[in-house]
Subunit: 133 residues, 6 copies
């Protein structure tokens, strides 16, 4: 149960409705997921976060599937149950198989492991890895 009342389309004011319409048009879908219905309890956050997600996740130098997989790796690291579900679903819709998910989580898990070994031992950065001034 969310900490605020979710806003359904039919009860939404015009500012919220406009965002919902843009979400559905952008995604070519006919429903809005709970994340946005919850953010709608604070319309400026709904508008700002949607505009940001729309911009960041659109195709660029990285393709949309790669972006979804990065999103999953971060969400697994932070343990966001909602985000793990929603972004694995999005990645599957874009072609991610069980095997690709396996590799993705294997890399994320390994990074979480070696991050702590590097920190715990306080490994100094090699000169070769430092960017040129």
């Amino acid at each position: 149960m969310p900490m605020v009342r979710m806003v359904e389309y039919d009860n939404a004011g015009p500012e919220v409705k406009a965002v919902y319409d843009d979400i559905m048009a952008t995604r070519k879908s006919n429903w809005v997921n709970n994340f946005w219905k919850t953010l709608a309890s604070h319309p400026p956050t709904l508008r700002r976060i949607w505009a940001g997600v729309k911009e960041v996740m659109s195709p660029g130098r990285l393709d949309p599937l790669t972006k979804e997989m990065i999103y999953v790796a971060v969400s697994a690291t932070n343990n966001c149950e909602y985000c793990i579900h929603s972004h694995i679903a999005s990645a599957r819709a874009k072609g991610m198989t069980d095997e690709m998910l396996g590799e993705l989580l294997a890399v994320a898990g390994m990074a979480n492991q070696t991050n702590r070994l590097a920190n715990g031992y306080q490994v100094p950065v090699d000169a070769q890895f430092k960017p040129p001034a």
Copy 2:
């Protein structure tokens, strides 16, 4: 300064030397970075972690650059200075440009933001995102 003495090639025992040789052969390079020289203070960890990294980071369903970028996203999330440096360097060597790095960190940053909005509001997972039983 690391919390243990790093092991240089010339002072290494045969088990450590064998790992160093495999690292250089696999990477077609002629040096070993500080992470491995630090882990060599505990040879079983050196051997196990290297075998794991070698397996996980080799080409599979995901290409090596995508894997490096996932590694960078997790390392930035966890704030591992060493890993951020070493994996950005590896990703650049595999073709990552400033623009790709910009998109990668934009996605990682956005995920870190929405992870907390989803958690803070305790957004319930949509039935549509649940995997079939």
Copy 3:
């Protein structure tokens, strides 16, 4: 289901009962929430943590509502479901509205985002931000 048996008032020994009584007196309430009933499985922890929370959350240079909102921001960052619920409830009891919660989570989310951009890019601290020696 908690990992230990919770201690109900009627089954509590005198040390635990004294803490429960102080919790209810301090909060002018007639019940004790599950967090304390769980900590009561280890009485020294119950006593120490309650004394700490009581001291830290009492009015000082920061008012109690500001303190609750800081607690919520940290709990959302760490994804503590229990703490998100209990401290949002406390903040609401002290006057936090949906709009204030929206702003609070917007700031916490933004901080989580820019923390990773600053770390991922390894932005050097400006001399102007360094405290005087």
Copy 4:
């Protein structure tokens, strides 16, 4: 040393210069800090993040100092050295004293502690803390 070349005002293109000008105008200052000069390596991120920070940190139901203190609490939790410095500096400029910083970090530290006790014991959420359906 940042992972990309920082963009100084005199070398910036018009899109970046416009953001820098808005940062200085908004803050009534005559310099731009390293965070923005680093983000300028990816102009869409510079523009988007600045617009977001400007909106989120402006006065609303929460006053600007409260917002800065929430930012500090999250940054200390995530251990972002840059953000700790920059947001403590901003909070001090808005009136935060050593004593207020002491209370703020005391609350943030306590939340980090009890978050792990609640999680480690898997304390169940009390019915009283659940939001009404």
Copy 5:
């Protein structure tokens, strides 16, 4: 519900069955827990992670109970519900009492608190704590 279909013993291929057999033989048990049945959706991960856990958790300079308690402390810090349950169960099977769990979580909680005080205040490392060069 896991994000992939779990693999039961009777439906497993020979590579997965061999790992399951080794898990049960090593643990002198007659069942395999859900973690491994989920990893079996990606057999290389199942094999690699099991080999690693088997090696790392076997008796060494640290005894198995100490290792389980370290595992619990990390899992509580990261809020991994599954791992908290499975490693507390393992630690109890090796002799951990409620009182030992209380002390363990008290230390883990305290560390999470002082970590943020040290970071938030940016306390400089004392020369006495630096390892000799």
Copy 6:
């Protein structure tokens, strides 16, 4: 450089001096480390945190070395540079060797890895791991 001025013994007021004296007496040492000199900028925090650390880290059902190792595992997970240094130094003073540190960080690293695999796959808790009601 810390975010506040550290308080040296000779400049300390009586409340702070009393804590410093107790730290040195308890540890049978003749100096106070920077952590406490920084907390002394907010005397109530100094007093409360020292009392808590003294209680939690004293011998109980767990011996002091085990407690220090748990502290190190959490500090490596959270990447607290100060705490990694100070608690590794304390653990070494209590007998921790390089080999024990190697095992400790191997367990902490593995836990950080499997925490993310369990979360990323959303592995359901086995009935066998659930505590009895």
